[in-house]
């Protein structure tokens, strides 16, 4: 009797597993063909001594990976990029959490649908065009300076362009929508009745936020953090165009290997090292972002 039940459940599990595979397979097959296959080719190249196209003299080598240790400039710049990623992600988390919450709960329905679209629309343009617009805004005598000096005559130039602050502004601008939208999607799931219950039990708003709202929004916050942190570590356009002298980061170094010297093997090796570091950081921070809905129970 019990055996039959166990068997039943096993076959149900198996059926649901098959359904899961069926649902994910179109997307992952596509990814396999278009991304993972070419990337495996790149993994192979990263162990070669020279470009595949250069007269077949390429040999197997670990040199590209070892150069990460041999040249101190690489770890220094990777650390700089990771730090940039942490700063930008933290800022996006802070702004995005409250903005997503406000969007979901403080706006009437119609306005909400419009604002939801408004947040995404700016990104239907090339990122390069947007960064160039930031240059026009931030440069000496630019839009921001004109505004500040109109507000406070004689305030002088703000001098933000070509500083670290400019890089952070540009990157926060580029990735904030991801964070707002993922937080918004999580915030939608918060039921009014839970909030009312907590309030009627005498909890203050900050307490409700910390004990009820925040745990419920963690999934969105987590996804937003991943979608921000991961690309920011590899970013090169914003640092190069907005950062001036301080614009050299790991991403620009990787780009140089492809554009200045065409050393694909080294460029690939450096980016896989970056990927490994990013994955380790994600693994370490995963417990922070775990779904904590059980806390509510």
């Amino acid at each position: 009797m019990t055996g039959a039940i166990v068997e039943n459940r096993q076959s149900a599990d198996r059926a649901s597993a098959w359904r899961g595979y069926a649902l994910v397979s179109p997307a992952y097959l596509w990814l396999l063909l278009a991304v993972f296959l070419p990337l495996s080719a790149m993994v192979y190249f990263s162990f070669l001594s020279s470009n595949v196209f250069d007269s077949g003299s390429a040999q197997f080598t670990l040199g590209n990976y070892l150069s990460f240790i041999r040249r101190p400039v690489y770890p220094i710049l990777l650390w700089r990029s990771v730090l940039l990623g942490i700063i930008v992600t933290a800022l996006c988390c802070f702004i995005g959490l409250f903005a997503g919450l406000a969007l979901a709960r403080a706006l009437p329905g119609r306005a909400r649908a419009l604002v939801f679209m408004l947040i995404l629309l700016p990104f239907w343009t090339s990122g390069l065009v947007r960064v160039f617009s930031w240059v026009v805004v931030l440069r000496t005598g630019g839009v921001l300076d004109s505004f500040v000096n109109w507000l406070v005559p004689g305030a002088g130039p703000t001098g933000i362009l070509y500083t670290y602050t400019a890089i952070v502004i540009g990157l926060v601008h580029a990735y904030l929508p991801y964070m707002i939208i993922t937080c918004y999607l999580s915030a939608l799931a918060i039921d009014d009745s839970i909030l009312d219950a907590a309030r009627s039990l005498g909890a203050t708003w900050p307490r409700v936020f910390r004990r009820v709202v925040l745990p419920l929004m963690l999934p969105g916050l987590g996804v937003g953090a991943v979608l921000t942190f991961v690309p920011v570590v590899g970013s090169f356009m914003e640092p190069r165009l907005l950062g001036g002298r301080s614009g050299t980061v790991f991403g620009t170094i990787i780009e140089d290997q492809f554009t200045a010297v065409f050393n694909w093997p080294l460029g690939a090796a450096l980016s896989f090292i970056m990927l490994a570091v990013v994955l380790v950081i994600m693994a370490i921070s995963a417990p922070l972002l775990r779904d904590r809905r059980e806390m509510l129970k």
Binding site: R19, G20, L23, V24, A27, W30, L31, A34, V35, F36, P38, I95, F98, A99, A102, A106, R112, F116, M117, L118, I119, L120, L121, P122, W124, T125, S126, G127, L128, V129, S133, V135, V136, V137, G142, V143, S146, H173, L176, Y178, I180, I181, T182, L185, S186, L188, D192, W205, P219, G224, V226, V230, G234, G251, F258, T259, W264, G267, S271, V278
Partner: protein, 260 residues
Amino acid sequence: MSSSIRLLGQALVTLVIGFLYLPILVMIAMAFNKSPYYQLPIEWSLRWFNDLLADQRLQEAAVNSVLIATATAVIAGALGTLAALGLARYRFFGRGFLKALLLPPIAIPWVIIGCAMLILAFWTGIGRGLHAILISHVALSLPYAIMVVGSRIAGQGTACEEAAATLGANPRQVALRITLPLIAPGIVAASLFSFATSFDMFVISYFLAAPGQTTLPVEIYASIKEGFTPVINVVSTILILVSFVLAVLISRLHDFGTKQ
């Protein structure tokens, strides 16, 4: 919710929208500025609009880009939704690994993926062209789409679906009547992000475009030596304004995420 908090929330949303649109407004203003160097003060002029009218190639590029981005949005939105449902609702071997696999396409700089795809297209004989561009855009939008839809599903229990099933709805009815509407905001967001990702993928389009074919990103990336002129602002402005009108229209019809 108390009205003061509500007001605070509305102020915050306004501020954030202001921040997001600051460079966009500047971009639009510069489309009407006579100076090729984006100089202030603005001298109003339509010269860049005239330049665009004369530039068949750029018009073609804009149309191609919109078509590719739309196709990307639809395909990536659909496949991403299926995959997100599969990853969230079913337990199977290798699920964690599949989730982790979404990170490399986001983390690896596009120039590397672009070169890799160029080599593969060369080796396998797929060749360069719009098909290759579309395949790569969908692939690189998928991780974003899957994660965005996933963040919507994660906040949603299965209670509604279970209730419907208990009440006698068949699985198809449950999927179409309950699940889809519930996660619709996520799907819409995922599609819009995929559209944006496709529009922004300058390096990869550049590597995969066949000789003579063009998209906006190709035009922009290829101007690495000279830089581009405000004509690019004009194209972007037209696209933004058209999508703005569409957005207003759609938001009057649909109401993403109002509670059921």
